[in-house]
């Protein structure tokens, strides 16, 4: 019943000239999404310092999916990486804010705004 989570990585450059790894997710983010979320993140080159999470094509995130995002943020924090996210619906922006995620990952409306913040 759940839509499989797809993830792909794109390398971009921020307006300030820094390399940025963008993780573009698609489908649902739930308990079955560990490989797509954590596996894709862990496969990034070790020298990655800036990470963007693209939720534009994600329709459904439940508490287990939010827990995976938090796990990613924990690992990124331990590696000294900066993470921002964009493309969340107004509802999931509210939910992410309710659980305190903006303290550890800035939430932006779109990719341009997120890249500008890096």
């Amino acid at each position: 019943m759940q839509s499989e989570t797809k993830a792909r990585v794109e390398q971009l450059t921020s307006p300030a000239g820094h390399p940025v790894a963008v993780l573009r997710f698609e489908g649902d983010i739930a308990s079955t999404s560990k490989e797509a979320v954590i596996g894709t993140y862990q496969a990034l080159p070790k020298e990655t310092k800036l990470v963007l999470l693209d939720f534009t094509k994600v329709d459904y995130i439940n508490s287990s999916g939010i827990a995976l995002v938090i796990q990613l943020l924990i690992e990124a924090s331990n590696c000294g990486q900066k993470v921002c996210a964009f493309g969340l619906s107004a509802h999931f922006t509210k939910v992410f804010t309710m659980v305190g995620i903006p303290k550890y990952a800035g939430l932006f409306a779109d990719q341009t705004a997120a890249l500008a913040a890096l």
């Binding site: 019943m1 759940q2 739930a30 308990s31 079955t32 459904y60 439940n62 508490s63 287990s64 939010i66 827990a67 995976l68 938090i70 796990q71 943020l73 924990i74 924090s77 619906s89 107004a90 509802h91 939910v95 309710m98 659980v99 305190g100 995620i101 303290k103 550890y104």
Partner: protein
């Protein structure tokens, strides 16, 4: 609930859904709850709140109540009244290990502790349920009766 009526003329109605105790089927309940809430005239943002709360209640019933036993099912009763929608999500197990009654005001998840590894990243479902609906109550089952979570979301006549 079969004919389309304006929200102000919708009569009280009950809709029942039963889904397998398998993760993913909470989306069937989400869709049903959203359809009922739309008929009642809830705003889109409140419907999104309801969908997430209902999904988390179903996931709790599947994971904790029925312990992922696919031979069991999750029953959902949506009762639409003039000014509120009540949702009961029932499991067939012994429910969660909580005292019955209205949920105490749950603390906001402590993300700082999770980030420091002092808490597991999970454990936000009940908080989200309580934060997104107007009323949340957990009722323990016994040998004869199922455990259930009861949610209420109210129509705000001035805002809807």
């Amino acid at each position: 609930m079969s004919e389309s009526k304006s929200p102000t003329t919708l009569k009280p109605a009950t809709v029942e859904v039963r889904v397998p105790s398998r993760l993913g089927f909470e989306k069937v309940v989400m869709s049903t709850a959203a359809s009922v809430a739309k008929l009642m005239g809830f705003r889109d943002d409140r419907i999104e709140d309801l969908k997430t709360a209902v999904a988390e209640a179903c996931i709790n019933a599947i994971e904790h109540g029925n312990r992922l036993n696919e031979k069991l099912s999750v029953g959902v009763v949506l009762s639409a009244s003039v000014d509120a929608l009540e949702v009961k999500v029932m499991d067939e197990g012994k429910g969660m290990n909580r005292q019955p009654g209205k949920l105490d005001k749950l603390k906001k998840p402590d993300l700082d502790r999770k980030m420091r590894g002092e808490e597991v990243p999970r454990g936000m479902g009940m908080f989200l349920i309580q934060a997104l609906v107007d009323e949340a109550e957990w009722v323990a089952g016994d040998e004869a009766n199922s455990s259930y979570v009861r949610l209420v979301i109210r129509l705000d006549k001035n805002a809807e």
